[in-house]
Symmetry: C2
Subunit: 222 residues, 2 copies
């Protein structure tokens, strides 16, 4: 059975879980405390990060975009990157937008401060970082709303990896109660459409011991 | 004519220049002070970063990996990502290694501190950041040496985007005189092979006004 080493509120792990769900592929999840740098885990991924996917034959793949591209090439039935070279460039531009820019400006400041530090025993969250994260989120939600209003999905007419990457980040923030949904209607409408996809169900069932999500987290009419 | 908006010692701009060179494609370079957030430039790339490539017909592409993948798909004669899905996953894993991990641990601490701050008028370099960058570089050069010794090129038997991405970062550090070549023979041997490729020549001819590189910068037998 295919195996995915993950961490619950890691947007990159969630991205691969959604891709696997969209492709209808079965897999087993293993929670990896990657910050403990377990030797057997470092042998799978010398970068020491989740997600790592191990195929049935033992092939170990790491880095969420490399894994997603691999799955899209290996199971091409429902392409998630796009049909033309131009479409794919737009998908990849937006995946990088969320995985680099949104991650640095928002996710790190909220998820890492509030949750990862607690797991890693690194002390209290830095309130100035959290304030920066909350300030930065607005223009990203405006951009999501703008894209979703001018196209069907973020990168164009088809649901794909740009939507998956963006939703993976937002779902982590939503779990922590950090999404200002009321002020961003178009982004919320787009997220509601993503949330209702079967591939998203497992994420909405996630529960971190001792840290329940807000009640709207798994509500499709939030 | 194809147009590339770039900054001289931006590893991501250099990566696309090398890809264009490997594909034998002509292009015009425009130096963009992207930190000034020129309105016409933001219309091309709302992320406000270089590189941005504008095709003859006006199609604007941004984000160095999205551009590189686009060029590799559109001009497939000499594939730079790899031949099989597994090879491509390995190339993409390593491209992310250099563009995310190496960038955060080394490039930002040295290139941004020593050079970008000066261009942007942001004051003196932070010496603790520079110290961290110099400390971090060693294990990356060991990793490059290990990969280059156990394979022909970094991701496998063929020269490709992993080599290009790694060399783009190292070439920026080399311009600033920050490469401890003497202590890392195998990485140096690999870099010498990359440096001798025709696609690298334009980078070695780069000169930033008022900031000449060390004499070994464009020497193929450094």
């Amino acid at each position: 059975m295919r195996h995915l080493y993950h961490f619950w509120v890691c947007p990159f792990s969630r991205k691969v879980r959604i891709v696997l769900g969209e492709k209808g592929l079965e897999f087993e999840l293993t929670f990896e405390k990657y910050w403990e740098r377990r030797e057997d885990f470092l042998a799978l991924n010398p970068a020491g990060q989740v997600p790592v996917m191990v195929e049935d034959g033992g092939l170990a793949l790491s880095e969420s975009t490399a894994i997603s591209e691999y799955l899209d090439e290996t199971y091409p039935d429902r392409p998630l990157i796009g049909f033309s070279a131009e479409d794919r460039a737009e998908t990849r531009r937006l995946v990088a937008w969320f995985d680099l820019k949104f991650y640095q400006e928002v996710t790190i400041n909220l998820v890492d401060e509030k949750l990862l530090k607690r797991f890693m025993g690194m002390g209290e969250p830095d309130s100035s970082a959290m304030r920066a994260g909350r300030q930065n989120i607005g223009h990203h939600l405006d951009y999501i709303g703008y894209l979703a209003d001018s196209r069907t999905w973020l990168a164009g007419e088809d649901f794909g990896l740009a939507d998956i990457s963006a939703a993976a980040h937002l779902s982590c923030l939503d779990y922590l109660g950090d999404m200002p949904w009321d002020d961003y209607g178009p982004a919320r409408d787009w997220y509601a459409r993503v949330k209702s996809r079967p591939s998203f169900r497992a994420l909405l069932a996630d529960r971190i011991p001792g840290l329940p999500p807000p009640s709207h987290y798994d509500d499709l009419d939030f």
